[in-house]
């Protein structure tokens, strides 16, 4: 019997829990040749800002043991070009598209939430709070609970769509951040964003990345992501999206056991562009092989 793979993510029904992570799946279309977009639960688009952003100089990417660093610098087309050039494609796909976005000020965050709220093709909003707060001299919104709550409240007031808040792992206590965002009105939490890392080119005696530091992702970070998802799942009521180093169906199911309602595939899509679809298919096969009728029965089912 076909198992029930569907989950409900803060009011958005997903055919299965497999999503793709922002910044690793373009605007969806880039992967249409490799993934049947209607075989996955949802996809998240590259982080949007109000104005187009040019991002950092190159090199922007370097491989590390079991992972990679990126310092793209949030290059994106901006909300206007998104509406003009990317949204028409979203309309053609019968799968929820989730818009990831970020601002430099609370007002920018709110303004973006408002603009995205108007776009019927956008099923939900994922707010990336891992950005420096230019007003507060560069403190990252996502590492201070009050800053984060302010951003989330502002976005909450600006949209009636489901609001997913994406948490940074670069904090002492992710649970404090999670609670602050939940209390401020988040419908769902996604974690983790990248860790901050660095690579050095010994022979050139320089950082490898032009930006010096970069965001660390890939299989290497999975133990940290899994720990944080499990911690947050104990502490909040809203659904959680697990992200970080997911390469296989087994990885994905581990996050679900830890308490995630859905998961996002990030770096894995670079290594295998068909990863998201394969993971969804193999999760279903695992459910069949293990006699699990409904994937929802696995959410948070870890025995400790």
């Amino acid at each position: 019997m076909k198992p029930d793979m569907s989950v409900n993510l803060a009011g958005i029904p997903l055919r299965n829990p497999v999503m793709t992570a922002s910044g690793t799946f373009g605007y969806g279309q880039e992967f249409a040749e490799y993934v049947n977009l209607e075989s996955i639960g949802a996809f998240v688009t590259k982080g949007l800002s109000l104005k187009p952003r040019s991002g950092n100089p190159t090199p922007r990417i370097v491989e590390t043991p079991g992972g990679m660093l990126n310092a793209i610098g949030l290059q994106n087309v901006g909300i206007e070009a998104f509406i003009a050039k990317k949204v028409p494609f979203l309309r053609t796909v019968n799968t929820p598209a989730i818009a990831n976005f970020f601002g430099n000020t609370v007002d920018e965050y709110a303004e973006l939430a408002r603009r995205l709220d108007d776009i019927p093709e956008v099923a939900a909003l994922e707010v990336n709070i891992s950005c420096p707060n230019v007003k507060q001299g560069g403190i990252v919104f996502g590492t201070d609970p009050d800053c984060a709550a302010t951003v989330v409240k502002a976005c909450r007031a600006a949209t009636t769509k489901a609001l997913i808040v994406k948490l940074s792992p670069n904090v002492t206590d992710v649970v404090v951040m999670a609670r602050a965002c939940e209390d401020a009105g988040a419908d769902c939490l996604s974690l983790i964003n990248t860790l901050t890392g660095m690579a050095i080119d010994l022979n050139r005696r320089r950082p490898v990345l032009a930006n010096i530091t970069g965001g660390f992702s890939g299989p290497a970070i999975k133990p940290i992501a899994l720990r944080m998802v499990w911690q947050v799942a104990q502490a909040v009521k809203v659904p959680i999206i697990g992200i970080g180093g997911i390469m296989t169906a087994s990885d994905a199911l581990e996050f679900i056991l830890a308490g995630a309602t859905a998961i996002q595939v990030g770096t894995a899509s670079f290594i295998n562009p068909g990863a998201a679809q394969e993971i969804a298919e193999e999760m279903e096969a695992w459910l069949v092989a293990n006699g699990v009728a409904d994937i929802k029965s696995l959410i948070g089912a870890l025995e400790v």
């Binding site: 040019s54 090199p59 793209i72 770096t267 670079f270």
Partner: protein, 272 residues
Amino acid sequence: MQFTAMILSNAEVSPGYWRMRLTAPQEFASARPGQFVMVRVAGAIDPLLRRPFGIFDVGIHTPAQSGAVAQPYFEMLYRVVGKGTALLATLHETDLLDILGPLGKGFNLGTADEEKLIVGGGVGLAPLYLLARELVQQSTVRLFAGGRTRDDILCITEFERLGVECYTATEDGSLGEQGLVTEALIRRLDALKGRATIYACGPHGMLNAVATIAADRSIPCQVSLEGYMACGVGACLGCVAPGQGHSTETPDFRCVCTDGPVFESGELKWRD
């Protein structure tokens, strides 16, 4: 296209440089000169990311055993520089590799009535052979191949067999002229009567020099760039190169993987 290729051969053609032939699906036969593939070197996490390589050649492989069906193949010419390429060099006939490609935009072949001047530095020759093969069908083609030593001058016989006139230069003088290959290029351009197009691939410094030479003489020039790539399909934005009008205020980054790897040299911003 993503497919599993079987290695047909893998041999060292010059110290540190290898040439690998792999099976490909039918659709691969239409790969254009200048396109590339992303190779998953190992099944697991080390190395993690795919590695990009130009398409050196494509052809049809007819297995020796009777009844076997002919199948397209393609070749890569690669230099061992790190972990991924070192691993590639350990692979043998019948080993399998996961390939993504052909990817990117290839060279524009231009018109028949002009001379084609191909400039390659070291392993930069890799995507230029398939280009030369197509160009010789209608135009005069000259190759300017440069490198540090004679070991870096690759597959010249293959180019000559196509009827390409080859000029070589090495920094240590161990093969051809001593010096930079751009000197031979300039001499040829000075002697040039009719129209010409330049095609170049190699280290960034060489491309920069060639682009300047071309710009000074208003000769059309296409360059094939490298960039540190994670995805190869325009999603990660890791591989970008600044376009001609790029500045922080008016950002204009091009994806090497999807807008390139081949660009008109005038489209790009060159550091001076």
